[in-house]
Assembly symmetry: C2
């Protein structure tokens, strides 16, 4: 049952992704790196994008599992930044490739999930219409995602954490204010 080969392929791919951009990586590169037959690749994955997607989905599941709830805005940031930094070069190499959309989709899902658990935590015991709840979540996700995208576009050189922190200072209480405004008494 082991799935060791699948993992080996994934690991080799990530390893190569830390060395060069996605569009310069061939399937042969990957199977050569982990010493596996080329057909074995196709046994497990449809093609290269689906390999990327599977890695990204598993990473997503792992994060969800590790963070069923998020208590503070700081924790939101930590999770998202930690994810981006974990394979810094790989992230950039994906992001800069022609398949950027895959990474963006993933990034969005992470942001959205983390924000959702955070907002829902603050909404506990209060009445807010589903539409308003969705609006709040989308708004905050956009902010996180936008900052993150800018950061990536900028080569991840800024201290994203402190920029977020400053933003949080400037807009402190915004979430509470939004909730209060649309709360159904």
């Amino acid at each position: 049952m082991s799935g060791l080969t699948k993992k080996a392929i994934r690991d080799s791919f990530i390893k190569l992704l830390n060395e060069k951009p996605l569009n310069q990586i061939t399937i042969r590169d990957i199977v050569d790196d982990c010493g596996v037959n080329r057909n074995t690749f196709y046994y497990y994955f449809e093609d290269l994008p689906s390999l990327l997607e599977s890695i990204v989905n598993e990473e997503f599941d792992r994060i969800i599992k590790e963070h069923p709830t998020v208590d503070s805005i700081e924790e939101c940031l930590d999770v998202i930044i930690d994810f981006a930094l974990k394979n810094r070069k790989a992230a950039l190499n994906i992001y800069r490739s022609t398949n950027r959309d895959i990474y963006e989709q993933y990034q969005w899902r992470i942001c959205h999930h983390i924000v959702t658990t955070y907002v829902d935590g603050n909404l506990a015991g209060r009445k807010v219409s589903p539409d308003d709840r969705k609006l709040i979540i989308d708004y905050m996700t956009c902010v996180l995602f936008g900052f993150n995208t800018a950061w990536l576009n900028n080569g991840m050189v800024d201290d994203l954490q402190s920029r977020f922190h400053r933003l949080y200072e400037l807009k402190q209480g915004e979430l509470e204010e939004m909730i209060a405004r649309c709360e159904i008494k």
Copy 2:
């Protein structure tokens, strides 16, 4: 061709060896740890001792490969101590088990090999009978091995390196003296 499962079994074994003594580790423990069928263990290894032996042999080959020649007595010590410390707990757990002899055999082989390359380096260009050469090597191996055994028996708490160094100070020039005495002019 990959051999990933074999490696997984080895890794799990070493992992468990860092947790508990050898004679408390069952084959089921190992296969459970790496999520592999019990029969798969027997597919690759005869039994538990032969798994241990195979790990030990590979480690031996690795050390030989990395140290084709040894130039100084300090390097001797470094190699041997480094080996013992690399999986400190595992080494102790093997050593303290009923299969201690396996570890001792291995330790002896390491010592013997390292000493041999060192002595042969000093013998280059000089004529000494094969018997004398063997005697010198065995003598030095005994010293290294004996110190090491005492260290292990003592739970590896002493600073073996400094003890060796002191011994080297006390007996400095001994190798040269021995060689000179049996040199054939």
